[in-house]
Point group: C2
Chain length 319, copies 2
């Protein structure tokens, strides 16, 4: 059809014909059928995003910026929540395979490698935050937080803390391993001895933060806590904010991630902050190219330590 050529801006169409066709298409709201294009093998412009959840402000901001970039690049963004569950993650990959997603950006769930590889043919896979073997080469966008975590520990040490606890993700996550190592390196460079009883690990979720914070506070032999995860940080913080004032009096706290309200809570929460928007833009950049044209890529963005009121002010009502 000449119509098809006109709509695709092909040169071999009389200019007036082309214009007439295009104008009419716009008038009647015609758009090309993506399914038909996909079936011919033209690719889909679909980007999948797999996140543990989208309520945590870090993930929300990432998704927000990514979605903006996708609008600009005319990509379709399909979101799947994994709850950090490998089974759910597998199903998400399956669904994205059905619609022939061009790229998938994902925060790998903890746990063993499952048979996802069957769903990854020709898919441009981009890992975020964490790295996990997928049985095929993948790109990754990481956060380099070694230095920032070290600074956090030294900051606490400088305030006189000698018993600093750590709550983070366990060894099933690459990020869990790296952050724990960074914490221990920080202790060493601050001249503090490591006490394994003060290092508590678990799944990267809110309840791990809650549970371990309560446990560390209960022992009474910890004077500060450093967090190694977004959800964990929120969980720990919830315990601090709801604890009796005399229990947390003088306790040091360093969160992970920097949601907007951390600056407002308890006089300002010290934290490890990352360049969310830059992460998301890089992700969009990588996701925009089909797998075959996209060389595998590995890039890390440096995190920073934000010092605020490391000792949370107790909350008090105003009336």
């Amino acid at each position: 059809m000449t119509v098809s050529r006109a709509l695709s801006d092909h040169p071999n169409v009389r200019p007036d014909t082309r214009k007439a066709v295009q104008d009419h298409a716009r008038k009647v709201g015609y758009v090309k059928n993506a399914a038909a294009k996909a079936m011919r093998g033209d690719g889909t412009k679909i980007v999948g995003l797999l996140l543990p959840n989208i309520v945590n402000e870090f993930y929300a901001r990432f998704a927000n910026t990514l979605a903006q970039s996708c609008e600009d690049l005319s990509l379709h963004l399909i979101i799947h929540l994994t709850n950090d569950d490998p089974e759910t993650e597998l199903r998400a990959f399956e669904r994205l395979h059905e619609v022939q997603a061009m790229s998938v950006i994902h925060v790998p769930a903890p746990g063993a490698v499952r048979n996802v590889s069957a769903h990854l043919n020709g898919v441009n896979v981009i890992q975020l935050i964490r790295e996990q073997n997928m049985g095929q080469p993948v790109s990754s966008i990481l956060v380099e937080d070694h230095r920032a975590i070290g600074e956090a520990v030294q900051h606490l040490a400088g305030l006189g803390h000698q018993s600093i606890g750590y709550i983070g993700a366990d060894e099933r996550l690459s990020s869990g391993r790296a952050r724990r190592a960074a914490f221990e390196a920080g202790l060493a460079s601050a001249g503090l001895a490591r006490d394994d009883r003060l290092i508590t690990l678990g799944a990267p979720d809110f309840s791990t933060g809650q549970r371990n914070a309560a446990r560390l506070l209960a022992t009474g032999n910890v004077t500060a806590i450093v967090c190694g995860g977004f959800e964990i940080s929120n969980g720990v913080l919830s315990v601090f904010l709801e604890a009796d004032q005399d229990v947390v009096q003088g306790m040091g706290f360093v969160g992970y991630g920097d949601p907007s309200y951390y600056a407002w809570l308890g006089g300002g929460v010290s934290t490890i902050a990352m360049q969310v928007d830059e992460l998301a833009q890089e992700a969009a950049r990588l996701a925009a190219c089909p797998a075959e044209e996209q060389p595998v890529n590995r890039r890390a963005f440096e995190a920073s330590f934000v010092a605020r009121n490391t000792h949370l002010a107790p909350m008090r009502g105003g009336g």
Copy 2:
């Protein structure tokens, strides 16, 4: 092909053949091509979600719960951010038309009706929070906040406030009109006179909240502020939290929406809370049916007034 029948659980296939086919499909990770299904006219299982943004915790929680429901219902959720801009919204509808979305859930952007109707053929449209004429029958899921806003005003009046300001969305939004009316009704039932200078309206965004809060505080003749929008509430709150202590001393504040941290800020922020999860589940329920089988539906969920420390405690650092 017998294979197709086997995979579709068609009865006319020898049971052992069927099982063999299904097992093999699972083993090699075969999934049906959604594009081919769509091209036959079988529909797409794609649900579009159009939100102003996804960082605001109300929208984030809505999207989160909706995404969960979509996983359960095997629907694909495509997210588009509109920034409350009609042009961007129009482009999003266009993109969803391309992929033949089955349903679109959207928070209508303020402004005139544009020619979206061309992109809505056979689409199950579900409006959220706000209502706007789309030139065709649509379902809507609303928040009934008249009573809650009235309670908020009466609560403030009960605390002795006589000059209560209001910051909300303007008349371009159905929700803006309704909430303003609810505020005025609240004043009336509290026996307070309406002062139009204390009622400030604008776009439903953060800066509207910031700007008008600063303005109302500067005039000095307002002792409390009620917010009529999610983003607006956050904007107003940011001004309160960053203002000099003596300026906001004794000021009353009622926010809109109930993000998790409102309970922690300044001793607890009083607010209008809504049943986010219920809204999202209802949205998923409506979105799961194709347009032709879905009778148009209009449902409202009651909001509630949550009284906390209506007078924000000033923030102070702890060390």
